[in-house]
Amino acid sequence: MGGFDFDVIERSVGYLFREGMTFTLTLTGMAALGGIVFGTLLAMMRLSSFRVLAIVATGYVNLMRSIPLLLVIFWFYFLVPYIGAWMTGSSQPIQVGAFASSVITFTMFEAAYYSEIMRAGIQSIPRGQVSAGYALGLDYWQTMGRIVLPQAFRNMIPILLTQTIILFQDTSLVYVLSITDFLGAASKIAQRDGRLVEMYLFAALVYFVISFSLSVVVKRLQQKIAIVR
């Protein structure tokens, strides 16, 4: 092996971050946002008194949690064009871009995990808070939106963030769709220049630094919240 080649990293670092990391972070952000919104709805469905809603949501969450993310990625990659065609009434599968497909996949998948977190958060709010909301004349959505969810969300921020760090790492799996996320970009350079050692070690380092820093932030936040309560 001919020594560690820092030069290949230096040459490609702009490309890696401009193309790859931008994709990775955008995907993480959008999927986290979509996943938390959809996950919260799933949690509300699971806790609702309408049996059918609860059963549908439970089934969805359990299904997503029992199959590997990679299989879900493959599923949605092929399923989304069909759903698109069905929704628009087209006779051919609709081609959606790699980015849109990834956002949909990760939103749908992570929602199952976020929903478990939000469910625990909602259940941690005393029943009396809901009663007090109703007693003041607020309706279900107002009570949820103004009283229960803000508290549940705040209590769960550290865990939601931890799950988002996992999501950030999980997005590397779009590699199997030959998408140029951060790892995909590193892998392209690695293969083009025959510099696998340098590129994969560098990728590992970057993922580590970002995830680790975020987890330190989460720990700080947890201590801060612990003091406030």
């Binding site: 005393p126 009396g128 007090a132 007693a135 003041l136 607020l138």
Partner: protein
């Protein structure tokens, strides 16, 4: 027409009956104290009045509106019936002022300014004006309960329900809350109060209801009740509660 009319109300949890054919009226301006041993159904009964607890049999009419009618607009009804809870149930993520104004703005469609003026007026009435920007977690239990009363009053309720308002308080804080309630009673507010504070009952109640095992055992004027309760169970209960 009574302000609150409770007619043959029964409620079951599965096969366990928590309320058995409860019937009583609360007239406008009347103060009713509901007492009884724990598990007697008194908290459940008071919560049926604003439909926080559904019931399977009977009728409840509040100011001419049938509570158990599926067509009744419950949020609208509840907005007119003030309620104070055992554990205060202030919203911990909102400041005192926000606690006072949230429902006024969202339910009564008052402007934030209107709501603020109204809310602070009642906050002043319970003597807590200087706490308006604090959060519930920064107040003592007694202060929190007084804010909760001000929150209910800000909605201009036609009657007030109190569900054991002092039983979660440290002894030295009970009186500051009772004082506010006495004041309210003397102003002519219609009140239904679940409590063991017999001093309060003696001072302002018009009638006392005694419940046991889901039934209204005694429903008498204050003087009759404290004079000589008819039922043995009420006598025993009074003896226990007054002798310590």
């Amino acid at each position: 027409m009574p302000m609150i009319e409770i007619r043959d109300v029964s409620k079951w949890y599965g096969s366990f009956q928590v309320l058995k054919d409860c019937t009583t009226n609360v007239e406008k301006g009347e103060v009713i104290v509901v007492c009884g041993p724990s598990g007697s159904g008194k908290s459940t009964l008071i919560k049926t009045v604003n439909a926080l607890e559904p019931f399977q049999k009977g009728n409840i009419v509040v100011d001419g509106i049938v509570v158990n009618d599926p067509k009744t607009d419950l949020p609208k009804l509840r907005a007119r019936v003030g309620m104070v809870f055992q554990h205060f149930e202030l919203f911990p993520h909102l400041s005192v002022t926000e606690n006072l104004t949230l429902a006024q703005i969202k339910v009564l469609n008052r402007t934030p300014d209107e709501a603020r003026v109204r809310g602070l007026k009642y906050l002043d009435r319970v003597g807590l004006m200087e706490q308006k920007d604090k959060y519930p977690g920064q107040l003592s239990g007694g202060q929190q309960q007084r804010v909760a009363i001000a929150r209910a009053l800000s909605m201009d309720p036609i009657c007030m329900l109190f569900d054991e308002p002092t039983s979660a308080l440290d002894p030295e804080m009970i009186n500051e809350v009772l004082d506010v309630m006495v004041l309210l009673a003397k102003e002519g507010m219609t009140m239904m109060v679940v409590t063991h504070e017999m001093g309060f009952a003696r001072k302002v109640a018009h009638r006392v209801i005694f419940m046991d095992e889901g039934q209204i055992v005694e429903d008498a004027t204050k003087d009759d009740f404290f004079g000589k309760p008819r039922s043995e169970r009420a006598q025993q209960f009074l003896a226990k509660i007054l002798h310590h």
